[in-house]
């Protein structure tokens, strides 16, 4: 009898000891794991706008002609070493950096360095119908929304290292466009190879760029694997392998941070930030980001076609309450579409405080003394600008009840949601926008211009000639003071018209393991791991 007790005891002892042995679930070697919140839609930034996709692909795989300084918002030389703008503001010339090599992968071996031909190939894709790859994509959402085809007249290679853009009219936001994450430079040689192999769709699936990492493997909803690009033209960190682990579930992403399965994870739930900021082995990084969450009214549908109604609804919402409950105080209250750190921001302290009594009056004026019923579409996913649209919708619903407006909260699966939005089936929607560059044009044009109402990114379906004149006027001059006055006027006009109600500018958060350094969050786009390194 004693013998069997003893045996049982030693068995459990062995189990206990083997359990004790691994101290941490450390990731091996020179690899970095970034836990992303979703799968990328494509591997070509030209075809997407989603922040998740941009985070996962653009800064790692590609370079742009220009970069944006994360702190000052100034433009820096990248693949273009110098640029020159003609006095009439119509011709832009770029001198390219020599000896920039493309990725060598299993499916492509470059035979030459970057030339002007690659730049022409990249940007003509969105411009010329006869470009071999024009038809392989159904749309170029960012470039369509900024009216690339109307802005740019031609792109020509002057020599192997000089390229010239000719515009239809002066456009002071043009350089900023070239610095966005969407303006990634592709390889013309790879394009030609795919045409010869009749494998054109692969251009956007098996990427080749000049960026610090090269593509290795992708498993949908599982992971993306990148290897270091050893011939990168810049100094870069010693990370040999970058894995983007796709973990859509917030709780699991946090758990993986704790077990060290992830080194970096973006937008952790704000409620848990406190826990991480108290621990020495983790570092919470924050960055005021260029984004805005808003409540857009479908101005094509009654009752939202009435300005008074839109004004009334905006007045009825208690924004500080939303900031507390949804953002846990980690966001700034929005008074304009533009965030306060934009140079064209206008502080609007005229109206727009929380005033249900006035809202009720306005509704009566508009002929709705007894209120009405509306739908609020709340996006089903968590995004930087809005961590919890459902909760926000519930708060708005309660506020609206006070002025006699009955609101119903609607949500669909994300892809369906976006499709239905583009078709304008919504009454009003809680959604937002993250800027791609420092230019104010990047907020106002894609969100509220008539062109955007056609391409579908104008969630208010609002088309107003007066407003379009303001924003067109602003890009036709390079004089900053003059541009500023146009934007101030545009913002004031928005304040009166209220096609959408700005709610908050959220800060961007990410939690990383303290052993990781050199990660930069760009307020205008994706995360960059060029200089990332890891101490063992």
């Amino acid at each position: 009898m004693n013998f069997s007790y003893c045996r049982f005891g030693s068995l459990s002892l062995v189990l206990w000891l083997t359990g004790c042995q691994p101290a941490t679930v450390a990731n091996s070697g020179q690899g970095l794991v970034y836990c992303a919140e979703g799968s990328p839609e494509s591997f070509n930034p030209q075809l997407v706008t989603s922040g998740t996709t941009i985070d996962a692909i653009s800064q790692h795989l590609y370079d742009r002609l220009l970069d944006i300084d994360a702190n000052s918002g100034d433009l820096l030389p990248a693949l273009a070493q110098q640029w020159h703008i003609s006095p009439d503001g119509l011709t832009y010339r770029f001198k390219l950096r020599p000896n920039v090599s493309f990725h060598q992968t299993d499916y492509f071996t470059p035979s030459r360095y970057l030339t002007a031909e690659d730049v022409v190939f990249t940007f003509n894709r969105m411009l010329q119908v006869e470009h071999p790859f024009f038809q392989t994509a159904t749309e170029y959402p960012y470039f369509d929304s900024i009216e690339w085809r109307h802005r740019v007249k031609s792109i020509t290679a002057l020599s192997s290292d000089e390229v010239e853009f000719k515009l239809n009219q002066p456009d002071s936001s043009f350089l900023s466009v070239l610095a966005t994450d969407f303006a990634a430079i592709l390889s013309a040689e790879y394009g030609a190879q795919l045409v010869a192999q009749q494998q054109k769709p692969l251009l956007d699936i098996q990427p080749v760029g000049t960026g610090p990492f090269k593509f290795r493997q992708y498993q949908k909803d599982v992971l993306i694997r990148y290897y270091r690009h050893d011939n990168y033209w810049r100094q870069h960190g010693d990370i040999q392998q970058l894995v983007i682990d796709i973990v859509p579930d917030n709780t699991k992403r946090l758990a993986k941070l704790l077990t060290r399965e992830c080194d970096i994870a973006p937008i952790p739930r704000l409620a848990e930030l406190q826990m991480f900021s108290n621990r020495p082995d983790f570092k919470v990084e924050q960055q005021t980001s260029m984004n805005v969450a808003f409540w857009a009214f479908n101005t094509q549908k009654p009752p939202f076609d009435r300005v008074e109604v839109r004004q009334a609804l905006a007045l009825a919402i208690n924004k500080p309450n939303i900031l507390q409950a949804v953002y846990f105080g980690q966001a700034e209250e929005a008074t304009s579409v533009l965030p306060p750190n934009s140079w064209a921001y206008r502080k609007q302290n005229l109206v727009q405080s929380f005033d249900p009594v006035k809202a009720k009056e306005l509704l009566t004026q508009a002929g709705y003394p007894d209120g009405f019923s509306i739908d609020i579409w709340a996006m089903p996913v968590q995004r930087l600008y809005n961590p919890n649209a459902q909760k926000m919708a519930e708060l708005i619903q309660a506020d609206l009840r006070a002025i006699g407006v009955k609101a119903r909260i609607v949500s669909y699966e994300w892809n369906t949601f976006r499709r239905k939005l583009r078709q304008g089936e919504h009454d009003s929607v809680l959604i937002g926008w993250s800027a791609d560059n420092a230019d104010p044009d990047n907020f106002l044009r894609p969100l509220l211009s008539c062109a955007a109402a056609v391409s579908g990114s104008n969630r208010a379906n609002w088309c107003d000639e007066q407003f379009d004149q303001f924003i067109s006027g602003a890009v036709q001059t390079t004089d900053v003071a003059q541009r500023r006055s146009y934007y101030l006027a545009a913002q004031q006009y928005l304040q009166q018209q209220m096609p959408l109600m700005p709610i908050a500018h959220s800060k961007r958060f990410q939690v990383k393991n303290s052993s990781v350094q050199g990660v930069t969050i760009n307020p205008y786009g994706g995360i960059s791991l060029v200089n990332a390194g890891k101490t063992p």
Partner: protein, 339 residues
């Protein structure tokens, strides 16, 4: 004699498969949507292509002939495409099934290795403190929901202690291409990877899911072995053997154990379906890329071809394992052959 028995079993097996395929085939009609789409998994079929497919699927013939054509396609390996990925369903299953088999097999082994000795111990020391402890633990383990236990274990071993990873089969930094689907074999076949480090990582990932999945069958096994052993110990031949002067351990090993374990082989087969069901739950909790997770995703996506194929594979697996253990049981136990 034994051949006749095997023939009879095989006939039964065939009959079960016919019933299963009839059921799965009829799902094509019962699921909403276009019949051709449901059968092939293709979407947005052009009218011309539609015509062609109808002919290939024998839809212009009687139901009986459609069923024959369906079976022919199954045997040829043409199981249609997945709605979600537009890839052949069979290939996808071959990717995920090994992960489930691996998990279930390790859990089953663990439950046998832990359950049988503990059950025997409890039976031999009947009504002692040890017996009460084992039976008590078995009862608790038996009634604990798997998902709850899994979450508690994640809380403790992953989040608090940081010993074990929370999800997946292997650390993501190990690039191990999936060749056989069995992780340790794949690691052996992989190049440019530190095999020992990868195997260690795989073990770490395997530990918690295996343990969680083994809890229920282990406890069933303990209770079953204990009851079975107690029954055997009451038998007259045991008493006779004792009376003849055999020692206690000789009686136990030669006469008790062999007879008590006979029903256990059968029990393994019966427990297998529960095991697979629990494996699906475990897979979802630990993001284990097995057939359970895949099937549940398919259900969310209304991916009818995938649901059908998954159903077919899982049911066939359960039926085959059941039949196999039945046959093994008969081979070991001549008495059962007469039935």
């Amino acid at each position: 004699m034994i051949l006749r028995y095997l023939a009879r079993r095989l006939f039964l097996l065939g009959f079960v498969f016919v019933a299963l395929t009839v059921f799965v085939f009829s799902l094509n009609y019962l699921f909403p949507g276009d019949l051709v789409s449901n059968l092939t998994g293709m979407r947005d079929i052009s009218p011309q292509k539609h015509q062609q497919l109808q002919q290939m699927l024998a839809l212009d013939h009687s139901l009986w002939q459609q069923y024959i054509a369906y079976n022919r396609r199954l045997l040829a390996g043409d199981w249609g495409l997945s709605f979600a990925s537009q890839q052949p369903v069979l290939a996808e299953i071959m990717q995920v099934l090994p992960a489930t088999l691996e998990l279930a097999a390790y859990a089953l082994c663990l439950s046998l290795f832990a359950g049988i000795p503990l059950g025997l111990l409890a039976a031999v020391k009947k009504d002692s403190l040890l017996d009460r402890c084992i039976s008590g633990i078995a009862l608790v383990g038996y009634s604990m929901p798997v998902f709850w236990l899994a979450l508690i274990c994640i809380m403790l071993f992953s989040l608090q202690l940081g010993w074990l990873p929370t999800s997946g089969r292997l650390g993501v930094l190990f690039e191990v291409p999936s060749q056989t689907g069995f992780i340790f074999v794949d690691i052996l076949l992989a190049e440019h990877v530190s095999r020992s480090a990868a195997a260690y990582s795989a073990l770490q990932h395997l530990a918690m899911p295996t343990f969680i999945l083994a809890v229920y069958p282990t406890n069933v096994m303990i209770r079953f072995v204990r009851t079975s052993m107690l029954e055997v110990l009451e038998q007259n031949y045991i008493k006779t053997a004792r009376a003849k002067g055999l020692s206690r351990s000789q009686v136990l090993y030669r006469h008790g154990l062999r007879n008590a374990l006979l029903p256990v082989t059968r029990q393994v087969g019966l427990q297998f379906s529960t095991l697979i069901t629990l494996a699906m739950l475990t897979e979802v909790i630990f993001s284990w890329p097995g057939i359970g997770q895949w099937l549940i995703d398919s259900i969310y996506q209304r991916n009818y071809p995938a649901i059908q194929a998954g159903l077919l594979v899982v049911s066939s697996l359960v039926i085959c394992v059941n039949m196999l253990t039945e046959i093994l049981h008969t081979l070991f136990n001549p008495l059962a052959r007469k039935l």
